[in-house]
């Protein structure tokens, strides 16, 4: 245990995801020795993240204004909505430059073991959006893990009765650069069921 402020800082850092006690200590002592200008910038960034960032009214992505940049962009197709778990997933898909539609951020995945059901996510907002607007395609881009798959399953059930709506799921295949024999059963099974005509 260190004295006063240093230990307080270590404790706070240790509460961040992915930061263990040793890393917390290392970061704390790095900050202690850092240039005051660097610390000021970090302080400002921390301050702004809670004050300046809001969640978009429409899609739930992080935004600086009530409606985010993507939802305001008239060149983006409002008929196609890509459903993701977290704001970081929007960034990942944006980086591909493949998608010209809009997003819907759920705020997580259905995870009963953590007490997260449909009411804890932005599911109702998604359904309202599809009923009100001219959405013709929903792309389910939840994570390719157990919770993400179950979330996609649930959404398919909720969306299948909307007339004229196409619902697709991101294809899940084999990682590039790998050997087939090393693929796990779940990935290989999904790659097989999602095979396409060539």
């Amino acid at each position: 245990m260190y004295e006063g402020p240093v230990q307080d800082l270590i404790d706070e850092l240790g509460r961040l995801p992915g930061v263990g006690p040793k890393s917390a200590q290392r970061i704390a002592f790095h900050l202690l020795g850092a240039d005051p200008a660097d610390i000021a910038r970090l302080q400002q960034a921390l301050q702004k993240v809670k004050e300046g960032v809001v969640f978009c009214d429409v899609c739930g992505n992080v935004s600086e204004e009530a409606t985010c940049r993507i939802c305001r962009d008239a060149r983006r197709d409002p008929g196609s909505v890509c459903v993701v778990e977290e704001p970081k997933d929007v960034l990942a898909i944006e980086r591909t430059r493949e998608f010209k539609g809009r997003y819907h951020v759920l705020g997580g995945a259905l995870d009963p073991l953590s007490g997260i059901g449909p009411d804890q996510l932005r599911v109702r907002e998604l359904l309202a959006r599809i009923s009100d607007q001219e959405v013709t395609e929903v792309i389910l881009a939840t994570d390719p893990n157990t919770e993400g798959e179950a979330t996609a399953t649930y959404l398919v059930r909720m969306l299948r009765d909307f007339p004229g709506l196409t619902v697709t799921r991101l294809a899940s295949g084999l990682p590039m650069g790998g050997d087939l024999e090393f693929a796990d059963e779940l990935t290989l099974g999904r790659a097989l069921s999602g095979r396409r005509t060539v």
Partner: protein, 249 residues
């Protein structure tokens, strides 16, 4: 350097650091084991998807200082595929996993019976032949029996007087005769107790013939009994999507 090998079911996964996970398994010979799977969150991981919840796996562990480390994994049954493709099965399966986690609190203490109950329930859910809600309730009743909390359904929970009895008391541990009946005891339909008896004994033709009302009442009593015995409430149980009851209502 100490290696050991066992078969187990993945109950839960938690993130650890940048790319690792802590995997909790209920195993055949070593009871509940918490072990680290290194690098499994990277897409290049060779066994990431094998240690997802519901997976029945053959695992090699290396005994670590604090937590053991998973060095090899082979899939025995990928129950997850059949479970996560149906939301009712998924929520029922999560309740199976959480119950198993809570009933095997002492790490390392053998829980063979519980391991067999978990694999049996997940196999039935993944097959999809039986109603997921009935599979869950049968599992919960048998898991309670494993824990020494089997509810009395034929005889009086207090004096053993042969029944059937009309009253049912969760705190007393099941059906109660008119003399032992505590204040506030419920009076379930006779069908409900017949259903619970059938689920506990695996008499599936009787269980599957039960009316929707008996099923609903039985699920309620079984959940109340389990929660009565557990110190903390199960998170997943209220989120189980039962047939005919849309989730979130």
């Amino acid at each position: 350097m100490s290696l050991y090998r066992d078969t187990g079911v993945v109950l839960r996964v938690q993130k650890l650091g940048e790319a690792d996970r802590i995997i909790t398994l209920v195993t055949r010979k070593h009871g509940k084991v918490r072990a680290v799977a290194k690098g499994v969150r990277r897409t290049t991981s060779r066994f990431g998807a094998r240690v997802e919840p519901f997976a029945h796996v053959d695992v090699q562990f290396y005994t670590g200082r604090t937590l053991d480390i998973i060095t090899q994994v082979q899939t025995l049954d990928a129950f997850g595929a059949g479970i996560m493709s149906d939301y009712q099965r998924y929520t029922a399966g999560c309740a199976v996993l959480e119950t198993a986690d809570r009933l095997s609190a002492e790490e390392g203490e053998p829980v063979l019976r519980l391991y067999l109950l978990v694999t049996g329930a997940l196999r039935a859910l993944a097959d999809g032949q039986r109603d997921s809600s009935l599979v869950l309730d049968a599992f919960l009743l048998r898991a309670m029996a494993f824990a020494g909390w089997a509810p009395a359904v034929r005889e009086c929970a207090r004096c053993n007087e042969p029944g059937p009895h009309r009253s049912f008391s969760v705190p007393a541990g099941g059906s109660v005769c008119p003399r032992c009946r505590p204040a506030g005891a419920a009076i379930p339909a006779q069908d409900t107790l017949v259903l619970m008896d059938a689920l506990a004994s695996g008499t599936w033709d009787v269980a599957e013939a039960a009316s929707p009302n008996a099923r609903r009442e039985g699920s309620g009593l079984i959940a109340a009994l389990l929660q009565w015995h557990l110190e903390r409430q199960l998170r997943s149980l209220p989120l189980v999507d039962r047939k005919g009851v849309p989730s979130g209502q």
